[in-house]
């Protein structure tokens, strides 16, 4: 099926071939972009947009996979119950995602500033060095973190052996371990948009600020920061959104008290097969994200979503 779709799209001329007759050319030009976008957009409509509709429909239903599903007029109850039962995990996910977003911003901004401003000819090398760890699958990175943070692992174990840490010091299975793992895993989502924004910044603007007797601090606050806000905005979204839905870090590095909403959704669907509750929680998640994005865009005064 996949190959079929590809075969169908290939023979379309990606460029209007002739510029002979003005009228004919206009007609071709009118149709060409739609023909080009058709296969990809059809794929996204069928396997992204339509599924969202099905997910939404499920929240109006009641039942389980064994007894079948039927429409219920009591559907608002599904949302209310889903929220009140799992409010702890929902709030926890929001808090963790916020902390991770701020932490990645604080960690990556000074670094990307230096690479973009002072990296010189080695800029690309530094950026690639930064991305190198992410050639390793997400799960393996997180499991390696588990190894690093484990009580008798090579780091904590060594520190304990030389007496720098008390023997009962624990890092794994704590909120700190989960947040540090997420910060690690989502760092590039913040770092790259920041880099793009900082790289665009014209250094002569900073010279101009200095010529006009601004201090370095003032120049940073009044020139650098406002001009890199689109990068901060894009980076925050790209970090916050996957963080809030993430459950791998919480399951591998955390304990039952660090369970995030993603774990609950997964359990509802794959273990309990309670599709209405799982779908309602997913829907609450995207609705919450939309509200957050809207508020954040207004607060920052930038509408630049796509960069």
């Amino acid at each position: 099926m996949a190959l079929e779709a590809q075969g169908r799209s290939a023979p379309e001329p990606p460029e209007p071939p002739s510029d002979r007759a003005g009228g004919a050319r206009k007609g071709r030009r009118g149709l060409a972009p739609y023909l080009l976008t058709l296969p990809g957009v059809a794929w996204l409509v069928a396997f992204f947009a339509a599924p969202l509709g099905f997910m939404f429909l499920f929240t109006f239903y009641d039942g389980t996979i064994d007894i079948g599903y039927s429409f219920t007029s009591d559907w608002p109850q599904t949302y209310v119950e889903a929220f009140t039962t799992y409010d702890t995990q929902i709030i926890r996910s929001v808090i963790y995602a916020l902390i991770v977003t701020v932490a990645t911003l604080l960690i990556s901004f000074p670094m990307m500033y230096w690479i973009a401003m002072k990296g010189g000819r080695r800029k690309n090398l530094f950026v690639l060095l930064l991305l190198l760890p992410f050639f390793t699958p997400f799960l393996i990175r997180t499991l390696a973190w588990q190894l690093v943070l484990s009580d008798q692992g090579i780091f904590l174990g060594t520190l304990k052996d030389i007496g720098l840490l008390s023997a009962d010091f624990k890092l794994l299975a704590s909120p700190l371990a989960v947040i540090s793992g997420m910060t690690y895993n989502f760092l590039p989502f913040m770092a790259l948009p920041l880099y793009v924004a900082l790289e665009k910044l014209d250094p002569s603007l900073l010279d101009a600020a200095a010529d006009l007797y601004s201090s370095k601090r003032e120049a940073f606050l009044k020139v650098t920061l406002p001009l890199t806000l689109p990068g901060v905005f894009a980076g925050s979204l790209l970090t916050f959104i996957p963080s809030i839905g993430d459950f791998i870090d919480a399951e591998i590095l955390g304990n039952p008290n660090t369970t995030m909403i993603g774990s609950i959704i997964r359990r509802q669907l794959l273990v309990n097969q309670d599709y209405p509750t799982g779908a309602a929680l997913s829907f609450l998640l995207i609705a919450g994200i939309l509200v957050a994005v809207f508020l954040y865009a207004r607060a920052l005064g930038t509408e630049e979503l796509t960069g």
Partner: protein
């Protein structure tokens, strides 16, 4: 401008940011080093947690666990097909977006962006909802459908970045020299945007190979590399996983080194695209 400050203090200050950058890069590399190291660990039981001694055993018996090998093969096949299909579909959209102005263009830009701004778990749940509702059996095909779906947008963005900084006068020149549209596209346009297409293809491959969340909801009985690792993580991960991940990592490093060298060579000669 700042040259009035005493030189010694300035040198000291100038070291802060590079040192910091080095530390962050080291922090990012710690788990990778640990992962590589434990691929050489001569551990006795099931749990590869404590360093026992050096061995090349796991490299020699890389394909000792048939289920793991099968999972790796599944992942590579799915990633390869995903890469080809998503790159084709995504490149066509990117071409339409950068070289035509048409009604609905900005809505299309937004529509392409939304899947990237949707948490993976929602993508997984919604696809599962649909497959359950229409009673479509989950397996290899549904994983492929899902991976192509979430890769398309990333390909569009990557290829678009390359095509928008592109000098259209080169195409005009080709046409002035008598080339028709088809010839112009394949001899001028395509070679110039090829690096963008290659980058998009690589990204789609990596996204597919790495995915756990969306796959977990739609895999049925098909086991991919991340799914197998997740299942095994409760009983102890064999060192073969470390070795496979190490080899994949080294492939990535090789790719980076080659592309850096090529870039250096290209920047020595004037770049016709101006990029």
């Amino acid at each position: 401008m700042a040259s009035a400050s005493p030189p010694r203090r300035r040198t000291k200050r100038e070291w802060i940011l590079p040192t910091y950058t080095g530390l962050v890069i080291a922090y990012l590399l710690i788990p990778i080093v640990v992962m590589m190291l434990f691929g050489f660990n001569d551990y006795p039981g099931k749990f590869n947690f404590v360093w026992e001694g050096f061995t090349l055993e796991h490299y020699r018996n890389l394909f000792r666990i048939p289920e793991l090998t099968q999972a790796l093969r599944n992942s590579l096949v799915i990633a390869a097909i995903t890469s080809v299909v998503a790159t084709t579909l995504g490149t066509l959209i990117a071409l339409a977006l950068t070289r035509f102005s048409f009604r609905g263009r900005s809505s299309l830009n937004l529509f392409i962006f939304i899947p990237m701004a949707t948490p993976e778990i929602v993508l997984g749940v919604s696809l599962l909802s649909m497959f359950v509702a229409v009673q479509f059996a989950r397996g290899f095909l549904t994983v492929l459908i899902a991976h192509i779906m979430f890769s398309i947008s990333y390909v569009v963005v990557t290829v678009k970045a390359r095509t928008s900084g592109f000098d259209r006068s080169l195409e005009d020149a080709a046409r002035d020299l008598g080339a028709d549209g088809w010839t112009t596209f394949w001899t001028v346009t395509f070679p110039l945007i090829l690096p963008g297409i290659a980058a998009g293809g690589l990204l789609a491959f990596v996204l597919s190979f790495d995915d756990y969340v969306v796959t977990a909801f739609n895999a049925g009985a098909t086991i991919t590399f991340p799914l197998w690792i997740y299942g095994a993580s409760r009983f102890g991960i064999p060192a073969q996983v470390n070795v496979m991940a190490t080899l994949i990592f080294l492939l990535g490093v090789a790719y980076v080194v080659i592309s850096l060298l090529r870039e250096r060579r290209r920047s020595a000669a004037p770049d016709p695209t101006g990029a």
